[in-house]
Symmetry: C2
Subunit: 106 residues, 2 copies
């Protein structure tokens, strides 16, 4: 049952070294998830809503890496797990990062 | 003989996807090399002058990754290979990146 999942663990961006942020965003699937979240309203996206070529287990791993890099936050709403990018906190810890991430893919 | 080495190959930053730049900087040794180059005058640093915990073969690999990500340029001056960061070109292709890289390590 989805309700039995442990709550997701997060790390604050101010506790993350910049090389771990770079590692999180070096993967094209994770970069695409973050870009789509950046363009979406907070908490509006469930985990299955991203257009990325990866299965459910792979997706869980990618979300865990993004949480641990301080880039996203997740919470459970009943059986749904919803997402947001940590716009303000990441901008304070890593000024310039969103400018790099949110521009169009080339 | 050092003079017999092939000239280093470079890629222009405008041809590099941002995820490849993130991958290049996800490694702490490469991040440190780029930071030290950022703080140095262009062409003033030979490859052996960086304070990083890696042997000669590993160092060659790291420099190749940094060249291929468009972040550094190398040229041979006799038996010496000297380096610079591509400040202006990288800033044009990836605005915000130097702000992230050049700040103090935490």
């Amino acid at each position: 049952m989805a309700g039995h999942r442990p709550a997701p663990q997060h790390r604050d961006p101010s506790d993350v070294p910049v090389e771990a942020v770079f590692a999180a965003l070096a993967d094209p699937v994770r970069l695409e998830i973050v870009r789509q979240l950046w363009a979406s309203e907070d908490w509006s996206r469930v985990c299955g809503s991203f257009d990325v070529p990866v299965g459910k287990a792979g997706l869980s791993h990618h979300f865990a890496v993004l949480r641990d890099a301080g880039l996203i936050e997740q919470r459970d709403e009943g059986a749904r797990r919803v997402n947001r990018v940590r716009r303000a906190e990441v901008d304070a810890a890593f000024p310039g990062l969103w400018q790099l991430v949110s521009r169009d893919a080339r």
